[in-house]
Symmetry: C2
């Protein structure tokens, strides 16, 4: 067994591990940083759906580069850590014994499949959306000449997969266990607009039913269809299980690291476990929501990156006294020609939690005047606390600019700002790039909230 | 003379006056609001250049709607206020005597032309870019069948005019008094990238010279060319003077309102003159810069709108204790396929003012992975104070999303946040809409500043 030595050992080479490594090297240039990663080629996780349609078309176009890390002098090792001796500070792969000073779990997540469907994973034609190039290539090749596809799950990955497959000519049905798609990120009235686009693209959506069984009628180990709770049966040559992800904590559990809610590794605001030499970042950590502080299942590479930066700056004592006080859950996606974005809590979530809120909306256009070629409708919804008018959530539908507009709302939420701050915020507006200065939609939605709060 | 009566009289129906009227009606629904405006049809000022090319093609597509104001019960009157009796609180047009309780100047700005060129304004073929539909229609009709155009001025309006005219087939030369275009908004290295796009579009740019005379060689009252300081002469069938705007304060001066710097009406943070019944908003007010607090010549409809909101909420006592503490000067423009945006102070401005700064930059791509169709380069430059790392300026080059990204930086400047806040800010990232989560360019530029500040 080969003996290796490093200062900081990071297990996992995804977004969280990568950003943590780069940040650590920047903060502690004299320290030896070693990243142990499972795959030679790391996919960009959020773009996996685009491999299946014409947007990317193949997994070779979805490869994450780690050139910058290598240039900085960060070492990487292909392998899998299988055991850890905490007292001796040694991690073991099958071939190496790696001595470390600080250890970071960045082991990511694995597809979650409900118990009732798990035994069907062996059938030909049944796939999860794994962050693994070989598996993705296999499923892509299999789907290539098939036509009838059932996507199980109505989260971002499921919907993006469905749209890509539909626009490349497949007959796609999405089955979700919730009435509307993208539940949690969007309120019903906004999700319904996304559903209308799905339908126009030829995707069928069954929201009020769920898949209870995957069918292999001929007993030939090849999928034929799915059975729904209602008893209805759908034909399927391919079934894609996009039913979420779960923290990959096999190793952590084996070596006795304490887990938090939803199976993630428990960490504090600086991403430290109870042992301050051991950190966890990214999807393998237990998260909570920024506003409500309740356990959160949200898994996003952007959150993982922010966590990686906090951990990478806190390995040898606290440097930036801020920490990571929960995920704001900022999402974006593109459905057809429209972008849908969300940050913070939705109206439905807030009401369910009994929060006193005021909601403001504004419908406008993303260019000014509206006659500018390519102008698209823009809709902004803001959710504020009734007492104080603090912004706690926002949702936007619009053109591609929506992806950055939601980051303004994210920033407002993260900074704890209220509608009065937003009311006279200074923005740049330009005919070819934004809405009109006189009716900038974020400002107008805030003004709408003020009007309701003060009931004039 | 007809006698009219109102509570709030707003002189001017541009962005500042319009937003002020709507805000006032929202805040004081029982008050009678009257807007006196000069033109039946109000152009959207920032889109005027697009009338001259194929983007809009005619002024009828660039009309601002005041439907919302009318629906709210705001009255408007076509006319021009020519005198004011402050003791009796009466404003006089040629036909009406309007009694008011509160008065808001929103008289906007007029094209500024240097003394040495002013006498040439009478020549056929010499135009300013006035916010006046009739004048714009006249110049557009005149230019239609001409070919040789000289644009004097290298600000946003001049450059946008030049690009629109060039892409519609004219032979365009831009002459500026400064070495680089868009001075004040962009540092030289960024302006040079914009200049390269101009040149590729066929626009000639003469930066190190300036127009000293407009030539009418045949004494037929038709322009033939321009003479430069160097002695060089350029042929010109059309000369467009895009040499900035000056506050329209004729009325204010006549009635003895105190002016501030650069000829604007002096106002405090709530847009009040020394007389708290008299306000001024928009381009006719004297502005100062948000960060440096020095007098500012920046005129933007977005700033005017923010001022209109502050005044409209402060007419009868202060409601929202925030005020307007200076213009952040947030600009955007589109040059060819690239958007250029700026907020706050530039590096050159900061150094000239002797500010201790640290500059951070990042070059990336606006989609992830970079293989996503339509991906464009994205460049972010941030300027922070050396002591504390507070963000005081930013510049971005990228795709259309740049127009909203700069608003994130604007918000950071307005909120007084520093690079440490930005380092772990939570953002939404999505392959089709944004840069990668692991290298979100605003974060990366902030990280670059931290690295320099802490010189590790």
């Amino acid at each position: 067994m080969q003996k290796l030595d490093c200062d900081v050992l990071i297990i996992g080479g995804g977004p969280a591990g990568g950003v943590c490594a780069v940040t650590a090297k920047m903060n502690y240039p004299s320290k030896e940083i070693l990243v142990v990663r499972e795959f030679e080629v790391q996919l960009v996780p959020c773009a996996i759906p685009y491999i299946f349609g014409e947007t990317l078309g193949c997994s070779d176009k979805d490869v994450a580069s780690c050139g910058a890390a290598v240039d900085m002098g960060i070492s990487t090792l292909l392998g899998e850590v299988r055991d850890i001796d905490f007292s001796g500070k040694i991690a073991f792969t099958t071939k190496e014994a790696i001595h470390f000073d600080k250890l970071v779990f960045a082991t990511g997540s694995k597809p979650f499949v409900h118990d009732s469907l798990r035994h069907s994973l062996g059938l030909e034609g049944v796939f999860t959306v794994a962050k693994n190039k070989d598996l993705i290539d296999k499923s892509k090749a299999y789907i290539e000449d098939k036509n009838e596809v059932v996507v199980v799950g109505t989260g971002f990955i499921g919907i993006e997969m469905a749209m890509e497959l539909a626009t490349s000519g497949k007959n796609v049905t999405v089955v979700g266990g919730s009435k509307h798609i993208l539940k949690g990120a969007f309120d019903s009235e906004i999700a319904m607009q996304a559903e209308a686009i799905l339908m126009r693209a030829g995707v069928k959506f069954i929201g009020d039913d769920r898949v209870t069984a995957i069918i292999d009628e001929n007993n030939d180990n090849i999928v034929n269809g799915v059975e729904l709770k209602s008893g209805k049966v759908l034909d399927a040559e391919v079934v894609i299980l996009a039913t979420g992800y779960k923290p990959n904590t096999e190793l952590a559990q084996k070596v006795g690291i304490s887990l938090g809610h939803y199976g993630g590794i428990w960490v504090d605001e600086y991403m430290r476990t109870a042992n301050h030499d051991i950190f966890a970042v990214g999807d393998c950590s237990a998260r909570r929501a920024f506003i409500t502080k309740v356990p959160s299942k949200v898994m996003l590479a952007s959150t993982s990156s922010a966590e990686g930066r906090v951990a990478g700056s806190s390995l040898y004592g606290l440097q930036y006294i801020k920490g990571f006080s929960g995920t704001i859950a900022i999402f974006s996606t593109m459905i057809g020609e429209s972008a849908f974005s969300s940050a913070g809590v939705t109206e439905e979530e807030a009401l369910e939690a009994g929060t006193d809120i005021v909601v403001g909306t504004f419908s406008g256009v993303n260019r000014h005047p509206a006659t500018i070629p390519g102008a698209q409708k823009q809709y902004v919804k803001l959710i504020a606390t009734k007492h104080g008018g603090q912004i706690i959530g926002g949702q936007i539908i619009g053109g591609t600019e929506t992806g950055e507009m939601i980051n303004i709302i994210g920033f407002v939420i993260e900074s704890g700002l209220n509608v009065y701050k937003l009311m006279s915020m200074q923005v740049a507006t330009q005919p070819m790039l934004t809405a009109a200065p006189t009716s900038y939609p974020i400002t107008m939605a805030a003004v709408n909230i003020i009007a309701k709060m003060e009931k004039r």
